[in-house]
Symmetry: C2
Subunit: 344 residues, 2 copies
Amino acid sequence: MELDARKLGILKAIIDEYILSASPIGSRSISKLEGFSLSSATIRNEMADLEELGYLEQPHTSAGRIPSDKAYRLYVDQMMQKASLSEDEIKIIRAHMGAKIDEVEAVMKQTAQALSLVTHYTAIVMSPMLAANRLRHIQLVPLREGRALVVIVTSAGFSQDAVIRIPEGMDSYELERISRMLTEHFCDCRMDQIGDSMLREMGGELKERKAFLNSIVEAIDRKIEPESQNVQLSGATNMLHFPEYSDVNKAKTFLAAVEGRSMIYDLLKRASKLEFSITIGNENEDETFKDCSIVTATYRVGDEPMGSFGIIGPTRMQYGKVISVLEFMRRSLSDILSNDLDDD
Amino acid sequence: MELDARKLGILKAIIDEYILSASPIGSRSISKLEGFSLSSATIRNEMADLEELGYLEQPHTSAGRIPSDKAYRLYVDQMMQKASLSEDEIKIIRAHMGAKIDEVEAVMKQTAQALSLVTHYTAIVMSPMLAANRLRHIQLVPLREGRALVVIVTSAGFSQDAVIRIPEGMDSYELERISRMLTEHFCDCRMDQIGDSMLREMGGELKERKAFLNSIVEAIDRKIEPESQNVQLSGATNMLHFPEYSDVNKAKTFLAAVEGRSMIYDLLKRASKLEFSITIGNENEDETFKDCSIVTATYRVGDEPMGSFGIIGPTRMQYGKVISVLEFMRRSLSDILSNDLDDD
DNA sequence: GTTAGCACTCTATTTTGTCGAGTGCTAACC
DNA sequence: GGTTAGCACTCGACAAAATAGAGTGCTAAC
């Protein structure tokens, strides 16, 4: 038995209906649908076949059918049409991303918010991974007694800073001197190799400052790897609107998992190897997300992939819409990060 | 009719029991309690009196009684004992706050996390308000073409930074010169008055840089006022463990309100005028929090109040425990911010 | 002032009954 | 052979009825 055109049509109709209604679809409701001139009995036969093929499931004997993960996979791979964004949706996104933003973290927050507002699902956004960036500039700025701020700027134009201790008696001229020296030495060095490189090259006049330099490297290392704390989350409670999560315990499990961030972080990190990815239901490794789908996209600065972001929703997700939004966002985000950070 | 010692004792017992069980307390369960050698009938009479006085409520005719907001108010004002923290709890807090933290925002996140972990309620933490701080240092650091990072350091030792545009042809020496000049001019000026002060004093050689200076002031103004986005939230989903929120709709309302941040921000801002505050149920202005209690504390740096943080839970809250935790945290936080930011 | 006893109230839970949506199968139809 | 009408059957959802149990208020006795 094969999937002929009619079976495909019926399957698509069932999926589309189910995405909207969230309740099992019966044969009659399909046969009444525009474009089907078949009786419910015929649909029933086809549905029985589709069930045997593993595309449909029956919650119980006398209910309608619901699509299986396998069906959604087929759907996103072959049947789905991308939904283009409405004027309003674009406006919402623009309004969110257009605000004056002068910090990477703020951009991430806004992105997450815009995503969850437009899609009504849960949005997750990961800060840029700076490891593959190259150093452009290091500046040490004196703070109060015994402390300084290390500011690092990367080739992609990101800046990060951290407070460090400085040795007794080191004045601002000395700090300036060291800043220049470090900038010169390590300019264009990959951020994640500054430590190694420093160990190798640390002869000469920097020798006596070994401990101090180490603390700078440590601070840098801590900053280049975005941690799970740096995952922005927005609209987690949107999940509560879906009948799938009307059970408090399910909701609790889901919310606790996303609030914990670390799962999400792992997930986004893995996803950052691909331009786009869609994982459906059981394709998710995490037990918690077995009845969710996760769609992610990766943003870039220049040619370098910097991080990913995405949407978590029920498997019954509006894939077409979500993918369009992510594509749009991917472009906006890459643009903002490449050029316009701090523009009006 | 007055509240004699016996009535007080019974009321306290009811509150204590109710805080643990979350279900209406009957007369018999009180009379069986250690320390009461009264029959349930007597307790019943007393409970009827307490109800008449407004301290108890009856969900329906034949249920036990539950404490009213008025009862909780009396409880926290007069009857409650502070619970001292257990070894384990202190360990949890130390573990969270002890990690190397070199950024204000990281400290706030950790604080929120520690609070929610230890109390099992929802923790809210607001970043320091820098408005009352005085400027100690301004540094402009050149970034890529046409952009610089403004780093400001305040008297309390906080640093903030923002990316700004710089005029064509302004080189790093010029930036350094302006940094010194600004630092000198506005050192010890209140952060929220730098703008005004600059308008007044901006004669002389800074005149031709008017637009540029304005953009610096704007950046500073944006940074000194913590926004609602800067409220850290942790353990929001803890609320779902409480039977009070087993109704999905209630949970949804609550979570949406706290996820929105802005209510929380207003609330913490108001609370920062007091050392501690407890608002119970209907004392909260916000409809959403009518059956929550909110306990807040204000942290300081030196003598200056900087911001507040707190706990949101059901009115049936373990007040004694929560207050102790907040007191402990208040001290830790003030210490960390005063001295040890970036210490191991 | 305290307490035992009892009738009463009200909720929560279980049980039972009913309805309707949907199915699978069969037989007839084109 | 594919399609369809018809029908008996299944099963969950929902409502009504029955039951159990906790707790109260009141009264009368201690």
